[in-house]
Symmetry: C3
C-alpha cells in the first residue's frame, strides 16, 4: 500500500507489507523492512555529506508518524515508533523497540539502546549515548559542547534503565549511571552514580531509588520500575524481569 | 474552497464556507463546521484505537494552520485558532475560542475551557484540566506521572483566569487556583491557592496578585488582567468583565 | 528545478538556479534569489494582516529545509540556513549568513544580525533584537511580556558575539552585553554587562569571559570564541578576526 502521491525512488528497497502514506518522499538507498508503516508528509533518507554511509535502514514493524524526517546513514532496528514532526539525523544507531515522541530530535552520531522510550520534545545532542530500557520524559535536553561554540563535542551517557523526568538539562559529557532516576526540572552538571535518585540544580544524588514507594500503594516499591511496569515490552523480556526479581527476592 | 490536492474522505462532513488547503488530509468521521479554514499539510481525524469515539468535530470559524495534526475522538468548539505544527490527541474536550500556539501538543484525555490561550511549545500532558480564560505562555509543561514510568497518570489542574508564564514546569496532580499568576521559569511542585503570585523552584506563593501594578503605569492594577486586557475576546464577555469590575469598585 | 508538485504563484519571482522541493507552496509577492534551495512541504510568503509589507525576500544561496513556514513581510539576507519545521513570522529583518535550527520560531518584528546562529528549538519572542555573530543554543527562550498578558511587549536585546547556552530563559526587556556568555539553564532576569560570564537563577555576572580556558587545553583561551572557532564563517571575516587578535596581542 504505497499511496499514489508518495514519491518513492526506484532505488529504494521497500519490503512486503510496507505502507507509505500520502505525499511522503522516500529517497534512494533507503531500505524499509516488512510491515512498516510510514505516515503522511514524511521524508526518509535525506542525503547529507555528513553521512558516513548513504544507506538508511528501517527495521520491520516500525511506525513512523506524519511530518517526520529521517536522514541517510542511520541504522534503525525493528519496531521503531515515532510521533509526529520527529527528526533523526545521520549516523545514528537505534536499536529495536525504540520510541521517539513528537518533535523529538536525534541530532546525529548518537546511539540509542533497545526498548528505550523518548517522550515528546526530547533533544538528543550529537554524540549522545543512551542505553537500553531508558526513559527520557518531555523536554529533556542532552547537550554536548563544554565551551560553546567548539569543535570537540562530548556527548552525555545515559545508562540502562535510567529514568530522566521532564525538562531535565544534562551537561556535556555527564554520565548518569544505570537505574538512576533524575527528578523533573533538574540540571545534571556532574556524573550521577548508579541506582541513585538525583534532583535539583545542580542535581545531587540523594537516596537509593530502591527505597522509594508508589504514592498510591506505599507497600509497592517504585524502582526498579521493571518489577512493576510492563506495558509495551515483549513477553520474553518481561518474563526475564519477573524471574530476576524472584531470584533476587529469594537471595535476600 | 477545497484545494484539488486535498484528500478528503467521502464520509467526512464538510459544512459550507469551509476552506481546506493544499495537500491536507481529512479522514472519515470528521465534521468540520462552517467557515473553518484548514491550512496546508494538515491531517485531521487520524484514527487511533485509544479514541473513545471515532468522530472528530471542529467548531465553526476555526483556523487550523499548516502542518497540524488532530486525532479522532476530540470535540473542539467554535473559533479554535492553532499555530503551525500543532498536535491534538484523542478524547480531548476543547471549548470555544481556544488558541493553541505553534508546536503546542495536547496529549489526549484533556479538557481546555473557553477562550483559554496556549502560546507556542506548550506541552499539555494526558489528563490535564485547564479552565477558562487561562493563559499558558511558551514552553509551559504540564506533567502527569508522579513516579515515572507508571500506569496511573494524574493530570494537573489549572483553574480559570490563571496566568502561567514561560518555561514553567507543573508537577503531576498539582492544582493552580483561579486567578493566580506563576512567574516565568518556576517549578510548581505543590498546589497554589487562588489569587496568588508564585515564583521560584519550588514555586512559593507570595503576595496577592491584586497588589501588582503595571510597570509602565504604577497607578494601573495588573490583575485581574481582565480589567485591562480585552483584545481578542467577544464583546459580550468584555462587557460583563467591565460591569463586574464596576460593581466590585462600588462595593469596596 | 521546481518540482512539478510545487505550487508556485505566477506572481512570485524565482531567480535562476533556485530549487523548490516537492509539495512546497510559494505565495505571491515572494522573491527567492538565485541558487536558493527550498526543501519539501515548505510554505513561503504566507499572507497575514500583521505584515507591514506584502513582500517576502529570501537572499541568494539560502537553504530552507523541509516543513518550514515563512510569513510575508520579512527581509532575509543571503545564505540563510534553516533546519526542519522552522517558523519565521512577519516583519523580521534577518541579515546574511543566519542559521536557524529545527523548530526554531522567530515570532515577528524581530531583527537578527549577520552570521548569527540559532540552534534547534530556540523561541524568539516578538520584538527581540539579536546582534551579529551571536550563538543561541537549543531551547533558549527570549520573552517579551513584563506583565502577561499585556499590550506593550518589550523584546530582549542580545548584543554581538554573545553566547547563550542551552535552555536559558531571558526576561522581557533584558539586554545581554556584547561578548558575554550565559551558562546553560540560567534565568536572565536583569541586564548583563559586556564580556561577562553569567550563570544561575537569577543569572549573576561573575568573571570576565577572557580568563576562561578550554577544558582540553588549559593554555588556550576560550573567549572571545572568534579567536579559536572559525568553521562556517566567510574567509574575509575570519581574516579580520585573526588580524584583530594579533593587533590586540601586540598592544598588550
Amino acid at each position: 500500500m504505497i499511496h499514489p502521491t508518495a514519491l518513492v525512488s526506484s532505488s529504494a528497497r521497500i519490503d512486503e507489507g510496507v505502507e507509505i502514506g500520502p505525499y511522503s518522499i522516500i529517497h534512494e538507498a533507503v531500505w524499509i523492512k516488512k510491515n512498516t508503516k510510514v505516515g503522511a508528509y514524511c521524508e526518509l533518507g535525506l542525503p547529507t555529506p555528513l553521512a558516513n554511509q548513504s544507506q538508511l535502514a528501517i527495521g520491520e514493524r516500525s511506525v513512523i508518524r506524519s511530518h517526520s524526517v529521517i536522514y541517510a546513514g542511520s541504522r534503525i532496528g525493528a519496531g521503531l515508533q515515532t510521533g509526529h514532526h520527529v527528526c533523526i539525523r545521520e549516523n545514528s544507531d537505534i536499536a529495536e523497540g525504540v520510541q521517539l515522541g513528537s518533535r523529538t530530535d536525534v541530532q546525529g552520531d548518537c546511539s540509542i539502546g533497545a526498548y528505550t522510550k523518548l517522550h515528546a520534545d526530547v533533544h538528543v545532542g550529537k554524540q549522545s549515548k543512551i542505553g537500553s530500557f531508558v526513559w527520557l520524559f518531555p523536554d529533556v535536553l542532552l547537550t554536548n559542547d563544554p565551551m560553546p561554540p567548539s569543535e570537540t563535542l562530548i556527548g552525555s551517557v545515559i545508562e540502562d534503565y535510567c529514568v530522566v523526568a521532564s525538562k531535565v538539562l544534562v551537561f556535556p559529557g555527564v554520565t548518569i549511571g544505570n537505574n538512576s532516576v533524575i527528578g523533573a526540572g533538574s540540571v545534571v552538571k556532574a556524573d550521577i552514580p548508579e541506582w541513585k535518585l538525583a534532583t535539583g540544580n545542580p542535581a545531587k544524588p540523594s537516596c537509593d531509588v530502591r527505597i522509594l514507594r508508589m504514592p498510591a500503594n506505599p507497600k509497592e516499591k517504585a524502582y526498579p520500575w521493571r518489577n512493576r511496569f510492563h506495558r509495551g515490552y515483549p513477553q520474553e523480556i518481561v518474563q526475564a524481569w519477573i524471574e530476576q526479581a524472584q531470584t533476587m527476592g529469594r537471595s535476600k
